[in-house]
């Protein structure tokens, strides 16, 4: 009856396709939504870690007195060493140098000219006018080098002398006005604007940041696009699904390429000097903006070794660097009665106050690095290792399992024996061995870990896939596909694989979890990422003492939450992609 009725309507009502149904199923599960939200946040925190937790400011409009003074002070040595080069001449210079030295005499001269140019440029950035003398110095040095190269020794020597005199005069003429001692006089400098944090962001990071931003904002722009541009036309929305994905990928990729081209960010693992210089007054900032967590993941603090989370009262420290409460309060020596000297907490620019609850919300580690910041950065390693190794092992396992199950016969025999052989190895020790024997300078340990996890752990996915394919091989739709002349590869991947997707996806989700755990275990044993880059597993290893409970609790909790969320997602996806459970 209902068939008749729908048959009579002129415009065909929209009937949902596979992914509509899958998404609908998923959206009904509250736990799934919760798990996905938590994972999205975890990934966001890892991807945006450089923007959230960094010891470089986003914007810095400041005068760097140290840079200016260093440049000014270097002008005389430059002129002097140029004079030395001219005086010795090419032959003497070459005779005195080792034969394999990179620079020849001309090269050395050019290097001096470059140095002069560089320092003058650096100084000119801070000067709003009156730079004629500096330009004259640079011109003289350039002319002297030209004359020396051309062989006009006397002319060159005369020019060098002039440059030396000029440099001497410049040292007093161009001295900077010290804001702390304005009575000394000097030139007033203008602030220079720079973006130290953004300059340390690489193109690859920008790619993931853009990608994640697009994906997190998907509900917003997707709704608008469907309503306005596609006017709610279901067929067009369906047709546009792939285009939207490609657009997001293309946008992120082109953004990353442009960033790499014009900003040219380079990953920075060092501790940046900005906070210390700002504190010491070497840099005087007119405008400065630090990220919410103004600590670098490698920034140590001698006064805060194993400091408990700062919102706890037991974490309070006196100005002398002593704990005020609890078991950590220093006791006077029973014999001499001397209280050991404490290390005062150093409060750098932009950092929360010594006893602020926000200073180290999750405590610090063995060298006083902020644990929260290290967890944010450590998530990048742990989460990506889990995801990439799972993707890789699902790929291998599915291919092997599908071939074994579909072709059967000797192919199955060979592949099944292969699976059994790989299964025989104690996986963790194999991983340990491979990582131990991999040269970290040739293959980064992180890549070695990912590859080895995938190469050892694919067997469970392969066996699952094989079993599914063996079952399906007996079903008539496989026979029907072959009877319709569909090629084997298409039969395997288009017709059979989607039917096996449920168990494979669940196994995949579980492998993400086990990948994270494996990486943690490896890092725990010291085979993981290189110091000082953190990963959740290596954070746990910082201390094994119950006294430092925050060290084990917080990174361990992050691992636990991620693993649980992946398991919940795997569970929900298994139910949703199962065609038999699909409801109209």
């Amino acid at each position: 009856m209902s068939e008749r009725e729908t048959g009579e309507t002129e415009t065909a009502p929209y009937s949902r396709d596979y992914w509509d149904l899958v998404f609908e199923q998923l959206s009904r599960r509250r736990l799934f939504k919760l798990a996905v939200s938590v994972l999205a946040l975890l990934y966001a925190s890892a991807i945006y870690a450089p923007l959230i937790a960094n010891d470089r400011p986003y914007v810095l409009a400041a005068i760097d007195y140290r840079e200016y003074r260093t440049a000014l002070r270097t002008l005389r040595p430059v002129a002097a060493s140029l004079g030395g080069l001219v005086e010795r001449g090419r032959e003497d210079y070459l005779a005195a140098r080792p034969a394999d030295a990179a620079l020849g005499w001309e090269g050395a001269l050019a290097a001096e000219a470059d140095a002069a140019r560089l320092h003058v440029e650096r100084m000119k950035r801070y000067l709003s006018g009156g730079t004629e003398q500096l330009d004259l110095f640079r011109t003289k040095v350039g002319l002297a080098v030209d004359a020396a190269v051309a062989g006009r020794v006397q002319e060159a020597e005369a020019l060098v002398e002039e440059a030396k005199d000029l440099a001497k005069a410049l040292a007093t003429d161009y001295a900077a006005l010290d804001p702390r001692k304005p009575e000394d006089g000097g030139r007033e400098l203008t602030p220079v604007r720079s973006y130290p944090l953004l300059e340390a962001v690489t193109g690859a990071e920008v790619f993931f940041m853009l990608l994640w931003a697009c994906l997190l904002a998907w509900p917003l722009w997707n709704g608008y696009l469907n309503r306005r541009l596609l006017r709610g036309d279901r067929d067009r929305i369906r047709a546009w699904r792939r285009r939207k994905l490609l657009a997001v990928l293309g946008l992120s990729l082109s953004g990353a390429l442009l960033w790499g081209r014009f900003v040219g960010g380079e990953a920075a693992f060092d501790v940046s000097p900005f906070k210390r210089s700002l504190t010491g007054g070497d840099i005087v900032a007119q405008r400065v903006l630090f990220p919410p967590l103004a600590f670098g993941f490698a920034q140590t603090s001698a006064g805060e070794v194993f400091r408990p989370p700062t919102w706890r009262s037991m974490s309070e420290k006196s100005a002398e660097g002593h704990y005020v409460r609890g078991a950590r309060v220093p006791q006077p020596d029973p014999v001499t009665g001397i209280v050991p000297a404490g290390t005062p907490v150093e409060e750098l620019f932009a950092e929360p106050a010594r006893n602020s609850g926000w200073r180290h919300p999750l405590g610090t580690d063995s060298v006083g690095r902020d644990l929260l910041v290290r967890m944010l950065w450590g998530g990048r390693v742990s989460l990506s290792v889990g995801l990439v190794s799972a993707a890789l092992l699902v790929l291998i396992g599915t291919l092997v399992g599908a071939c074994a199950g579909y072709f059967g016969g000797w192919v199955d025999l060979a592949l099944s024996r292969l699976i059994e052989i790989v299964l025989c190895f104690p996986a963790f020790f194999l991983i340990l061995m491979v990582v131990a024997f991999t040269d970290p300078n040739v293959v980064p340990p992180i890549i070695a870990i990912v590859v080895v996890i995938a190469l050892v752990r694919w067997t469970s996915v392969a066996r699952l896939t094989r079993a599914e394919f063996l079952r399906m091989r007996e079903q008539e739709f496989t026979l029907a596909a072959r009877a319709m002349g569909i090629p084997a590869a298409r039969t395997i991947f288009r017709h059979m694989l989607p039917n096996a997707l449920g168990p494979i996806l669940v196994a995949g989700a579980f492998s993400v979890a086990s990948g994270i755990l494996t990486e943690s275990a490896l890092s725990f044993l010291g085979f993981g990422v290189k110091h000082p880059i953190p990963s959740w597993g290596s954070l746990v290893t910082e201390s094994s003492s119950a006294e430092h409970w925050w060290i084990q609790l917080f990174p361990g909790f992050a691992i636990f939450v991620t693993v649980v969320c992946y398991n919940l997602v795997g569970d929900a996806v298994r139910d949703a992609v199962d065609p038999k459970l699909r409801v109209l």
Partner: protein
């Protein structure tokens, strides 16, 4: 009549098993002419389905293998065809529909996608064109509201509807031959008749030859032009449908007819052929039916009867074909 479209000659398909080799199909020959319907009848396990699968080389290997014979489609030997050429034959020149419409459709694709895929694959149609054609085909096989049903998944359709979709898939590329392997066995009786009518209609419309495999003599009587009766991997009798139903000559065929409920008088016990089908691993010597045959003689045990003409195109493989008329 014109030259045969499909010739099967001395086909032997065996299966390796624990007890040796099972001769599931052992020397079957028949031919199929353009536009005709050939019914292949027999009990379960007599080798009908394996014959059908052998034609498209779909017998699972291992354990099955074709031990001998030739299958010629318009003179081309299908058994010697390279795999990629064979793929062009499958679905395009010879299509097949299966017994279980419940499992013969892929549960994760809409029926439209499944019909369209064959078209896209063999005819190279674009996605939209293939979809349009799929809707037409679904309409043609009598699916109501085909334009919406095209996006349905198999589990949303009834058994009869699924079998119609199977037929639409099979007929999508206008094959010369349609192999229907028990197309109505899993369906309700009322739906059975509709499906058979549909196959017959399409056959007349497009001039397709049909190889109808069934154990149901009623279906054969209704649909087939010629009938071949199989027993234990061999064809034991072949004739036009009228001829066979009027005067069967093989004791096995006669036994089959007598066990039909309609022919027995009301209240009488149904006739049953005594004994069971012999195992394909150990056939009896000589005539394979002799252990269950009322006319069995010493000659039957010694020599295997060849399939030879009785009257005109009617042939039977029995030493006692003349005496059998009296049964």
């Amino acid at each position: 009549m014109n030259a045969p479209l499909l010739e099967v000659e001395d086909l032997r398909t065996y299966f390796r098993g624990d007890e040796g080799v099972a001769r599931a199909v052992d020397g079957v020959s028949f031919e199929l002419r353009a536009g005709e319907t050939l019914g292949l009848v027999g009990e379960s396990g007599c080798g009908k389905s394996v014959t059908a699968l052998s034609i498209l080389r779909l017998v699972p290997d291992p354990p099955g293998f074709v031990a001998g014979g030739e299958i010629r489609l318009r003179g081309r030997d299908l058994l010697a065809l390279p795999v990629d050429e064979l793929r062009r034959v499958r679905g395009n020149e010879i299509a097949m529909i299966f017994q279980e419409p419940m499992t013969a459709l892929n549960p994760v694709f809409t029926v439209g996608e499944q019909v369209a895929e064959t078209l896209r694959h063999h005819r190279g149609l674009a996605r939209a064109a293939a979809r349009g054609r799929a809707v037409e085909l679904l309409e043609r096989v009598g699916i109501p509201a085909a334009r919406t049903r095209v996006d349905d998944y198999p589990h949303q359709l009834s058994g009869g509807m699924r079998q119609r979709v199977m037929i639409a898939m099979a007929m999508s590329c206008d094959p010369a031959i349609l192999i229907a392997d028990e197309p109505t066995t899993a369906l309700d009786v009322t739906v059975q008749a509709q499906i058979l009518d549909l196959i017959r209609e399409l056959q007349q419309e497009r001039g397709t030859s049909v190889l109808l495999i069934t154990h149901d003599l009623g279906v054969v009587a209704e649909t087939a032009d010629r009938v071949a009766v199989m027993y234990a991997g061999k064809i034991v009798e072949a004739a036009t449908a009228e001829e066979l139903f009027a005067s069967p000559r093989h004791p096995y065929t006669i036994g089959l007819f007598r066990s039909l409920p309609g022919l027995a008088a009301r209240g009488e016990r149904l006739h049953a052929i005594p004994g069971t089908v012999p195992s394909a691993f150990r056939f009896p010597s000589g005539c394979r039916f002799r252990t269950r045959c009322p006319l069995a003689s010493e000659q039957c045990a010694a020599l295997e009867p060849p399939l030879c003409a009785v009257v005109g195109s009617h042939s039977a493989a029995c030493w006692h074909a003349e005496e059998a008329r009296a049964l």
